[in-house]
């Protein structure tokens, strides 16, 4: 019997990565659309820089009036496309960010699937496979033929779709190159530390007093939604949520305070109550959780 490595994902699109210190970092796997967009950006960068380069060369050729200008241009494109598409990805992914500019723009990076370090041969293997996954389908779609050739091209195009669609049909959205190299592409967004909401306008908030019954109206899930609403700072949404909460907890305090102030105060109080109950081992999932 084969034993599977203990890498069961916690949920769809997430993957656990336990550091040597024993903390699970919970990586989010890059989505198909994001990765496709990253690839498009990279190709645009490649083609764009090639175009700029050949324009410069054209200027030089025109200026010096050499006869082998068009020939040199052909060499530039043939070599440039080949070297570009094979080394651009490898060099960038071997760097400290382990991501091409396209991947960085989409907040992605390459990681070793086993949680270890990403090595040069992994990066090379996953990029050498791109040749069959992207270039082969492209050649099939671009190819034209007649009779038997046309049928063969059509069959080839269908067959190569397997490569394109492959990442859709496995748990970690890995493409063939990722499988062969033992890598995966994960989200690595840079998040900024936002101010703690339980702190702001604390002086004002102190004037509020909520009864335990009023604070028991909601659970953790609602607390997080409330946090999102306050951070988004959309006036209409805040007004709607504030009036919803006021009626739910039968608020009978002062009614002339701003929605934002009220929500902040309620958030701080609710978080305090839920957190102190959590310290005693009672994690209240959401408002229906009344065990």
């Amino acid at each position: 019997m084969k034993t599977r490595a203990p890498t069961a994902p916690t949920a769809e699109g997430w993957r656990e990565l336990v550091t040597p210190e024993g903390v699970d970092l919970r990586l989010k796997v890059g989505a198909y659309a994001e990765r496709f967009a990253a690839l498009l950006i990279d190709f645009i960068i490649l083609l764009g820089s090639l175009a700029v380069f050949s324009l410069l060369c054209l200027l030089v050729f025109a200026g010096t009036k050499v006869s082998w200008g068009s020939e040199a241009l052909g060499v530039i494109w043939l070599l440039g496309l080949f070297v570009g598409r094979n080394f651009y990805f490898v060099l960038f992914e071997m760097g400290p960010r382990a991501a091409t500019p396209g991947k960085r723009a989409m907040g992605l990076r390459v990681a070793a699937a086993n949680g270890g370090r990403l090595t040069a041969d992994m990066v090379f293997a996953r990029n050498a496979m791109r040749e069959v996954e992207v270039i082969l389908p492209l050649t099939f779609f671009a190819a034209r033929g007649e009779g038997v050739d046309a049928a063969l091209v059509a069959l080839g195009a269908i067959w190569s779709c397997v490569f394109i669609l492959f990442p859709l049909f496995n748990r970690d959205r890995r493409r063939m190159g990722d499988l062969v190299a033992g890598t995966l592409v994960v989200k690595a967004p840079k998040t900024v530390l936002q101010p703690d909401l339980a702190d702001t306008e604390r002086g004002l908030a102190r004037g509020f007093a909520f009864t335990p019954a009023q604070l028991d109206a909601y659970g953790i899930k609602e607390l997080h939604v409330l946090e999102d609403v306050i951070r988004a700072a959309d006036r209409k949404a805040m007004a709607a949520v504030a009036s919803r909460i006021r009626s739910k907890i039968a608020w009978n305090g002062p009614t002339d305070i701003a929605d934002r102030t009220f929500l902040n105060a309620y958030y701080a109080a609710l978080r305090g109550r839920l957190e102190s109950r959590m310290l005693f081992g009672r994690r209240r999932k959401d408002k229906f959780d009344v065990g």
């Binding site: 210190e21 499988l179 690595a188 998040t191 339980a198």
Partner: protein, 331 residues
């Protein structure tokens, strides 16, 4: 109430400075690699990283501030990749690759190399015999784009001209040479990358490539240009064909481990073989570059058959010695 603040608020207030410090170090390291950090910063990093990790576990159990846990997760992930990331620098890595990794990878593929060599040779011999018997076979083995006029309809004189470079008569030759290089490199990459489809496409590519070689040779031998053509092909061919054989071997090793993974899961087996084969493939790209240089410059500059053969044999011996010469295994 003496405690005006939540526990989680105080928890955050006490540690925030350390997190910010780690974030600053990370930004620096990510921008230019770990070498950008000063010595004391380098020593500080793992300490801050462990602090952040422990903050993360504490935050998960005592804080309900969503943005805080998200921030710590992202911070720890970034630090993790830096702390446990690849640390060798490029020059060291390159030296290690040429001194040890590449020959070792090639040696470990010797069985597959033998198989792909035999396949190519058999295909070449078959093509040679077939074309000798009926020149029309030539077109089945060689794509017209690659032949560029060298086919059975050409005159012996024009065939001879293609072997010895005449300055004026070679318009578009450098484009053609570049095209050949990218074509061969692509064949090699395909042979590697398609290997995981149970070896079959790799075998087909090797057979096609060998067949093309045999057909070309047969064409020139029929016109009494065998020796000359041998020199023309082999000056870079020993390097290039060796590279393609190795690429095929790399593909085979992946396909083989997918078919027969042994004790491991198919995925693990493929990943392991893939990494080993990738090292060999990196080397194959280097070999193809060498072959391209030999083809582009060596062949144009050296017009003497004996010299061409000497270089061909020398290159082959050099590669064989480099890969298979017994050496001490690293301690």
């Amino acid at each position: 109430m003496a405690e005006l603040h939540l526990k989680s608020w105080r928890f955050r207030a006490e540690r925030e400075a350390d997190w910010r410090r780690l974030e600053a170090l990370l930004a620096k390291a990510e921008a230019g690699g770990a070498s950008k950090l000063r010595r004391d910063e380098l020593l500080e990093m793992p300490v801050l990283y462990r602090q952040a990790l422990s903050s993360l576990s504490v935050a998960r159990s005592i804080s309900l501030d969503q943005s805080l846990t998200l921030y710590l997760e992202s911070l720890c992930t970034r630090a993790y990749f830096i702390v446990y990331g690849a640390r060798t620098r490029l020059p060291e890595r390159l030296a290690q690759f040429f001194a040890r990794d590449w020959p070792a990878a090639v040696r470990s593929l010797w069985r597959e190399t033998l198989v792909s060599f035999v396949l190519s040779t058999v295909a070449a011999v078959v093509a040679y015999v077939l074309v000798r018997r009926d020149p029309d076979w030539f077109h089945s083995f060689v794509e017209p784009g690659l032949a560029s006029g060298r086919d059975p309809t050409a005159t012996t004189a024009s065939l001879r001209d293609t072997l010895y470079h005449q300055g004026a008569a070679s318009d578009g030759l450098s484009v053609f040479a570049t095209f050949l290089f990218t074509h061969n490199a692509q064949i090699a990459l395909f042979a590697f990358a398609l290997g995981f489809l149970l070896c079959l496409p790799t075998a087909a590519l090797l057979v096609m490539n060998g067949g093309m070689f045999g057909a070309f040779l047969a064409l020139f031998v029929m016109r009494g240009l065998g020796v000359e053509a041998g020199g023309w092909l082999m000056i870079h061919g020993t390097t290039e064909l060796f590279a393609i054989v190795l690429a095929g071997a790399a593909g085979f090793s992946i396909g083989w481990s997918v078919c027969f993974p042994g004790e491991r899961t198919r995925l693990d087996a493929a990943a392991e073989a893939g990494r080993r084969a990738a090292t060999a493939m990196l080397g194959v790209v280097v070999m193809l570059l060498v072959a391209g240089l030999l083809e582009g410059f060596g062949r144009q500059l050296i017009q003497n058959d004996a010299a061409r053969y000497a270089i061909a044999t020398g290159m082959l011996l050099a590669w064989l010695a480099y890969f298979y010469w017994p050496r001490k295994s690293p301690a």
